[in-house]
């Protein structure tokens, strides 16, 4: 679809640029991969988990809000999301200019942040800046601000899970499943469109 006036722009919500470079190089991606160590794009567009996508048209208008969007069925057994449903909708829009949501629906499904989430994002930025500065004591300061971010946004994946590798926690380990349990118990807050989501997900 790259020929039909269509462009994928990938943004890695990642403080570890080496991990991004390694993945993007290995996959030989044909689209740009940008590195967003401060989660600026999450803040601007309301991303609370990955992978997720937003559609923007030729006139810079958001025509589909943030929605969990698998590139493939790699994690289907976990996410219960059928990637083919996403791919078909995308094809209809790019090739046929057909949208599945109108403007009012786009607004309804947006996730405007709470002030707590905005503050959590700033704490996380301070933590990343301290980690990069690396003066004596900055590591402790970085951890302090990562913890403050998690207190303010305990159910946001970009904060909770995104922090795990920064403090040496296995993002597929015990802490992660504890977080998933908390998140499921709270009603799985996040993208509500649920495009391609199969019924009866069992995440707990």
């Amino acid at each position: 679809m790259q020929d039909s006036g269509f462009q994928i722009v990938a943004v890695a919500l990642d403080a570890d640029e080496n991990a991004v470079i390694e993945w993007a190089t290995k996959e030989a991606l044909t689209f740009p991969v940008l590195i967003d160590k401060f989660h600026i794009v999450a803040d601007l567009y309301g991303f609370v988990n990955v992978p997720a996508a937003i559609w923007v048209d030729e006139n810079d208008k958001i025509v589909r809000p943030a929605d969990g969007t698998p590139g493939s069925d790699l994690f289907r057994s976990f996410s219960h999301v059928d990637s083919e449903v996403h791919h078909n909708l995308l094809r209809s829009w790019v090739r046929g200019n057909v949208r599945d949501l109108d403007d009012a629906q786009v607004r309804d499904f947006q996730l405007p942040p709470t002030q707590e989430l905005q503050d959590a994002r700033l704490h996380r930025r301070i933590a990343i800046a301290l980690r990069e500065r690396g003066d004596p004591g900055d590591e402790a300061g970085s951890r302090k601000h990562l913890a403050l971010a998690e207190e303010l946004a305990p159910l946001d994946w970009t904060i909770r899970r995104g922090n795990m590798p920064l403090v040496g926690i296995d993002p597929f380990g015990e802490e992660f499943f504890k977080f998933v349990g908390e998140w499921a118990k709270a009603g799985r807050p996040g993208y509500e469109l649920g495009t391609g989501r199969e019924t009866k997900p069992d995440l707990t």
């Binding site: 722009v9 940008l34 992978p51 607004r107 704490h123 300061g141």
Partner: protein, 138 residues
């Protein structure tokens, strides 16, 4: 006492500045202000591009040498978090402003480095349909 601090703007740009606690809890030198924040203190008020916010009481904002970041953030409708111990301040968008900007459905521009270290703007790909994909290695 003056120290060297970092200021992180809402667009992610980061600057090293000279800060002090002599004027407000976290102030930076007037000479560092525009470079660090992108805002200028002018006769019309605090200005960035075409946008100006009036400053009714300049003495509250600046003693002529320093600018108090908390007052600056309040006057320009931004949020501010700072840590005086670690000497870092971060300016951000208030939740209410973000909700308003999101509801316009106008896709905001941003500028980030790509994997080769080249600065890329979202608007470099304008006038075509775009899939903005948020992804991560974690």
């Amino acid at each position: 006492m003056e120290s060297s601090s970092l200021v992180i703007r809402s667009d992610g740009g980061t600057s090293a500045v000279t800060s002090s606690r002599e004027f407000g809890d976290f102030s930076i030198l007037v000479s560092d202000f525009e470079g660090a924040t992108g805002w200028g203190l002018k006769p019309e008020g605090l200005c960035k591009g075409d946008v100006c916010y009036p400053v009714r009481n300049v003495e509250e904002l600046s003693d002529g040498v320093n600018i108090d970041l908390a007052t600056f953030a309040k006057l320009t409708n931004q949020s501010l978090l700072f840590d005086s111990e670690y000497q870092v301040a971060a300016l951000g968008e208030l939740a209410s402003s973000r909700a308003t900007s999101m509801s316009t459905l106008v896709a905001p521009d941003f500028r980030l480095p790509d994997i080769h270290g080249k600065q890329v703007s979202f608007s470099d790909f304008n006038r075509r349909k775009r899939l903005l994909l948020a992804w991560s290695s974690w």
